[in-house]
Symmetry: C2
Subunit: 730 residues, 2 copies
């Protein structure tokens, strides 16, 4: 084991240590008045209740899948025997990260509101560092899991001398990503349905029918709405990026083992640990970045944004330097090309974030046009939001196209052949790692959003003074901006990660092929069997586009995306409808509720959202898990490869469309509220509110759930590759 | 030339003859009162003005493309020298068909209104037979063009003896589909924007602001709205299906020439003319079917639908029998399997139509649910329409998956290999021909819709009695049902045709490859060079899914779909906005307009729609034409193949989503108007009207335009294949 590798567990310990430190530090702050404490407690209890319920279901699902994996591994022998354990560990650590992150967020928001009674800087620092608890615990636990498995498998598996040991180790480790994927599926889909059922339900009755403002304590769904921010944007986003972070590192490790198999064991292991090391250094730089975020009293929103940006950009800038250093020290062939691939990943992430901002911020034409169309009523708001959202999907797609082309060619040279395929795919993998390397701090800015939002809610409900509200509003507005770019980042990284996973899928097929033939070292016509088989496999499996099975696969991939997003969209509608009924019932039956004399039954609304989310997430989740397996059993590997390409491409586009349309509607409404086209209370404002409500499930349920879908379908295919290779009908 | 071939020109003459007969017959009917004549004249003039303007632009585009093709053919030598001429002929005949069809429709609608003053049966027969003018002129002109080229090329090209002559003939003929595609692009996109700009504009000011009913003569945009039905649903739909009909026959002919090249010249030519013959017989059966449509006075909507259905189903039923007969007479190997493929195509068309009906008719749960959600306001109507529309896309995708799998395997046997690839692809092509064979009558029912709609408009504006209105309403309601299933049929056939075209693209690449190597008859290792090259090409071009260029292509294909649909959607928004301004201006400045004393300036609104449509269609159309060329020049054949697969798969899904969501919103509104959830004038009704307005560009602009996009991109790639093979950067 190279000495440098130990940097990975060390940085994991640092990340977890600082996460704990920030958590303890936050707990020392005062939670404010009794009213503030009570509200925070309600939200905390609601969030815990939801998480408990979700984990119950997740445990059942994990049990079932583990049994299936055990049958595949020990019964049919089409899978490595370590897979069930790796799967469980990924799910466990992802769940743990979600638990800690949400705990931190729900303990923090009341305290942030209270800190805002003193100063803006105090509020920002507290909110951001509480967000950092989530960010660091996610990257820390990923690195712990990676380090542990790498050490154990390295000790346990026998040395083969031909580079196959590292291939096996990395292939096994990749399956812990499947555990993280499954956990993320339920967190994102369930959380997404929860948060929007509560939000849409609260708005439709509260704002529209009863004419009371948002976050009004008289609205029975308001606590559920605040809980929703935590379960959707903290736990859901955390699990999503946990998976991307883990999967991009693990896929790159496998691709590295394959690409440098012929270069000798030392180079090969260096290629394997390179992505881990970049992630480790990025984590240390994230911790440093967190300490750089501070602001002064009376800061404008621009200044606040700059404070956050300073920390993030410093970390990203330094990783550019350090990654070159690492690649140089590791002595990988063409280390400059690989460094180019990393830069490409970083730049792709930044560009996607900027395009998201352009299409969703009210400072630019697209969102202003949507706001303008509110003058002719809700129909034109919707039409122009859909139109702009669809167009906006083209930009990130183009960015990813340029990114994977460059990442491939930088690391493989500017011609394409079967021979340099592996190095090129390694380049794509490592560019995803580059994009995600400073996740610790990026995720902190994401988790900051809902904390600030909840702090605002707490301040509103507790009836704090206007000056405090102004401060929490400033923090909240900042959170909305980071949320939009954070969504772009999450989708972009999901797409790159999925492509890296797709590349590693081919490796897994190759290994299966070699394994079944059981002659990895034999020579065929002077070429090592492994290479001959690989070339043969390309033809044998006929994963080219003239094979109707591949085309059928692509069609099924697109089908999965449309089906999945339609189902999650309708799920929100149904769950919100139940919430509407309950809020109406409480307004009708609880005397004194509208005068603020009687307390609404918050817990009942939390329960409805929880149950609705749990019930509604089952079918779409099962579809996501089952489709790759079924397609594999019917159409074999060609069908699967088509399926994955179809899912990734159309899922990515659909996710961007939904996130951007939703974000633009949201900000178009705010733009009208700022006094444009008639301002608050005008007909245009009403039209823009309808646009915003339509956008809610777009941007917070169906859109983000697609991030998971595209990664999970590849993951599920990777893990069940042995099944598809051994048994298929056509 | 086999004797049977002459059935093709004969049936073409029959189709054109009966078309002329129905047209003359229709002209003999009386156009009614002076008011009726005046309105019909307004609509006719508006439609002609639009068509003239559109053809002006189309001619310029055709000139430019012809120059480019001439350079490619005569300058660079990367294209056959006949291509420019074939291209022009396709465009010319498609334009001619659109001109005649629209002429018939605009002469008919007033007469149908007048016929309804006597009886329902008279109205239905007249409307339907006028629709048949369009249906028969489309299929007739396609068959004329095909016959003429086949005869000429057969005489002119030298005999090679190895089956290459027929490959060349069919490859050249395929490019006349490119002319039809280009014509269809402008007809569908321009017509789609026109019709919805007028419709949305008329509704937003007329229905919503001025509170006057639809088709009210006081509304200045009402003539433009009626013109729109003709340019969108008659000319646009006609050009769309002209292209599908031509392309499916031509692609199958090429695939047949390739699949049976090794079977001797006689079998080969029989395989080539088989799709032509099936289309010819289908055309004769369509004429017979038209005569079977009649009804009696006081018929319910169900009975009316059954009358139409009887004609359509009889034609379809008989083609099943006759196609078996033809395949048997032609003596093709595995003729039973090929017949199976034809049946699969027919069944796929019917199933897609039925799924469209299930998801859009108010008799079923999905649309009722959308109507139900109107009780909680416009936001939930939109959310549930989008959700249901997305889910509904999954069904036709699944149908197409099953269809191409079965069509392939029926004609190629149940294993897949490079060797049986061509027969399988021929099966897919011929299944598309099966689906489209009775287009003559199917298209008659499509064109019937806007004729009945305009008849209703004419009756309303001319102030005819309630009994006449009741009859035209019955015809119109029937038209709405046939329009929905017609859309499903158009999309389904576009998808199958595009897949057949994709298959023929591979043939074109193979021919280019052989041509450049200039040794088609040489033997390599005992295999004819052509086969060896073909196998080599699969590897050489690396069109498999591990090649990042292919993946990049798929991403770019998905990108094109999102970009194109977003642009057409926004185009409607912008053009409608101009219409709104104009209608408001007329209401404000023309005194006495609201009292019905002064005539509005209809012509001005027609002009605005025309100009808006012409301006807005340019950019999306250019994108559709340029993307395949640019991708070919950068990424070569692998990029193109990915591009096409990405475009077809996601474009098909998006088209269905948009058509079904739009149709469901439309019928949900009607369901509310029937008295459900509060009925007319309720808040729920207002919410459902917003859903309907949003749905307008979905179902009539962006959705149908995608049919063209998916076919045109493949066509453009087919025609410029020599360019992509000879020159590409990566």
């Amino acid at each position: 084991m190279p000495l440098l590798f130990w940097l990975v567990p060390v940085s994991a310990i640092f990340a977890l240590g600082f996460s704990y430190f920030f958590f303890k530090q936050m707990l020392r702050y005062d939670e404010g008045t009794d009213m503030m404490k009570k509200i925070a407690m309600h939200v905390r209890k609601g969030a815990s209740a939801y998480l408990k319920q979700q984990y119950k279901i997740v445990i059942i699902v994990f049990l079932v899948i583990t049994v299936i994996f055990s049958i595949l591994a020990y019964g049919l022998g089409v899978q490595n025997k370590w897979v069930p354990f790796a799967f469980i560990s990924g799910g466990f650590f992802s769940g743990l990260a979600g638990y800690f992150g949400m705990k931190a967020a729900t303990y923090a928001s009341g305290r942030v509101a209270n800190a805002c009674r003193q100063s803006l800087d105090g509020g920002l620092r507290l909110a951001f560092r509480s967000g950092a608890v989530m960010g660091l615990v996610v990257v820390g636990l990923v690195l712990v899991d990676i380090s542990a498995w790498f050490i154990v498998l390295n000790l346990v598996l026998p040395e083969t001398g031909d580079g196959f040991k590292l291939m096996s180790i990395t292939a096994i480790m990749l399956t812990f990503g499947m555990g993280a994927s499954t956990q993320a599926l339920f967190a994102r889909v369930g959380g997404g349905i929860y948060t929007k059922a509560a939000d849409v339900g609260a708005d439709l009755v509260g704002k529209v029918e009863a004419d009371i403002p948002e976050d009004d304590p008289r609205n029975p769904a308001t606590i559920a709405d605040n809980v929703g921010d935590n379960v959707g944007d903290v736990a859901g986003m955390g699990a999503d990026l946990f998976e991307s972070f883990a999967a991009s590192i693990l896929a790159s490790a496998l691709l590295g083992a394959a690409a440098f198999q012929a270069h000798g064991l030392e180079v090969q292991i260096n290629a394997v640990i390179a992505p881990m090391l970049i992630a480790a250094i990025g984590t240390l730089l994230s911790i440093a970045g967190v300490f750089m975020v501070r602001t002064k009293e009376g800061a404008t929103q621009k200044q606040l944004l700059r404070s956050l940006g300073f920390g993030v950009n410093m970390s990203a800038g330094l990783i550019v330097v350090f990654s070159l250093l690492i690649l140089y020290i590791l002595g990988l062939p063409n280390f400059l090309g690989l460094w180019g691939s990393i830069l490409v990943g970083l730049l792709a992430g930044i560009s996607i974030g900027q395009s998201t901002e352009y299409f969703t911020a009210s400072a630019y034409r697209p969102t202003q046009k949507i706001a303008e169309s509110s003058a002719t009523g809700p129909a034109t708001v919707i039409i122009s939001g859909v139109g702009t959202g669809l167009i906006s999907a083209a930009v990130p797609l183009a960015i990813i196209v340029v990114a994977i082309t460059l990442a491939f060619f930088f690391s493989a040279g500017f011609t394409f052949s079967i021979e340099n395929l592996n190095s090129g795919l390694y380049g794509i993998g490592i560019s995803a790692v580059g994009l995600l390397s400073t996740l610790g701090i990026t995720l902190a800015t994401d988790a900051y959003g809902p904390i600030a939002d909840n702090a605002g809610g707490n301040a509103e409900m507790s009836g704090l003074g206007a000056d405090v509200r102004k401060r929490t509003d400033a923090l909240d507005a900042l959170g909305n901006t980071t949320a939009a770019t954070g969504k772009g980042f999450a989708i972009g990284s999901a797409a790159l990660t999925a492509l890296a996973l797709l590349a590693s899928y081919f490796e897994e097929v190759r290994m299966m092929f070699v394994k079944f033939l059981d002659r990895p070292t034999e020579l065929i016509n002077g070429i090592p069997a492994i290479e001959a088989e690989f070339i043969d496999f390309v033809e044998h499996y006929e994963i080219h586009l003239m094979n109707p099975k591949v085309i059928v696969g692509v069609l099924l991939g697109v089908m999965s995306v449309f089906l999945f997003s339609g189902m999650t969209m309708n799920a929100v509608g149904r769950a919100a409808m139940k919430m509407v009924d309950e809020v109406r019932r409480q307004f009708r039956t609880i005397p004194g509720i509208m005068e603020g004399k009687a307390e609404p039954d918050y817990a009942r609304c939390v329960e409805i959202s929880t149950k609705g989310a749990q019930k509604e997430m089952m079918v779409p989740s099962l579809i996501a898990l089952l489709i790759p397996v079924v397609v594999g059993l019917v159409f074999g590997v060609p069908g699967i490869t088509g399926l994955l390409v179809g899912t990734i491409s159309s899922g990515f586009a659909m996710a961007i469309f939904m996130a951007n349309a939703g974000g633009a509607w949201d900000n178009a409404k705010k733009y009208v509220e700022e006094g444009n086209f008639g301002g608050k209370g005008s007909e245009a404002h009403k039209a823009s509110i309808i646009g915003d409500t339509v956008g809610d499930p777009f941007k917070d349920t169906s859109g983000p759930s697609l991030n998971i879908l595209i990664k999970l379908m590849v993951m599920a295919s990777v893990v069940t590759v042995g099944l598809a290779v051994s048994y298929h009908i056509l």
